[in-house]
Chain length 123, copies 2
DNA sequence: TTAATCATTCACCCTATCGTTAACGACTTT
DNA sequence: AAAGTCGTTAACGATAGGGTGAATGATTAA
């Protein structure tokens, strides 16, 4: 594994239901690690690992509670979500392009319904 | 594993670098399975499994080539990407709420004073 | 100082996933 | 019909990911 890209790590992190649940929950407000473990009926070590994954991808940030330095409060960070949106925008631009490409393609293949219907298997 | 949600499956599918590479490649044009296996220097069975995952999440669609029924041509499908965007929009609305108005979800938050750091945890 | 609490890392299972080769079904070609 | 091609499923080994309980470090409470 040649050091996965940031997008790799972001998507892997969000692919886990627990971690996505944590993200959803952090939308409401920041939470201490212990609260999250309890909320998902999970042992503290298990949640700690999930939080580490989220932290390493930059999806959440850890802060020491001002009133009790034992407590670590987690909150969302926007950057990885923005990056994911950027990739998604790129992918979805495919269909916009397809509308334009449809005209061009329709010239070459008169009669076929969709753009890029198979063509040759050679490049 | 209580039947993962559609979003679970979509994110898991896209978390794999190979599968995301396939998606990126299909943005250019539809491809036969064999071309994809070759492009990623991977055995046909391995690619076939990746394509099945993508197909099961609805990210790609399989079509029999009109000229050669042995060839299966894969192309992108928009729905799962739109669903992912929907979730991403929800998550990112978090920051809009923070900037705009906390009154929007002030109705749901009981007693807690805004996004405060301190937490009264305790079970 | 001693005890209790919060969260982490460490050690270990256990399952899921990815890759390979071999075998198969479907289609095309000669 | 026989051989060749494309892509799949089947069976297997190797690896990574996620769960637990025990031990550790840091902080607070008594």
């Amino acid at each position: 594994m040649a050091t996965p890209s940031a997008l790799d790590r972001t998507l892997s992190a969000l692919a886990d239901p627990t971690r996505r649940g944590v993200v959803d929950r952090l939308r409401q407000r920041p939470h201490p690690a212990g609260e999250l473990a309890a909320a998902f009926d999970m042992s503290p070590p298990a949640m700690s690992r999930h939080l580490r994954v989220l932290r390493q991808t930059g999806l959440v940030e850890e802060n020491i509670d001002a009133d009790d330095a034992r407590v670590r409060v987690y909150r969302l960070r926007p950057e990885p979500f923005a990056a994911l949106r950027g990739w998604l925008d790129e992918v979805e631009s495919f269909w916009e392009d397809q509308l334009g490409a449809f005209k061009a393609h329709a010239e070459r293949t008169r009669g076929t319904k969709g753009p890029g219907t198979s063509g040759g298997r050679k490049s």
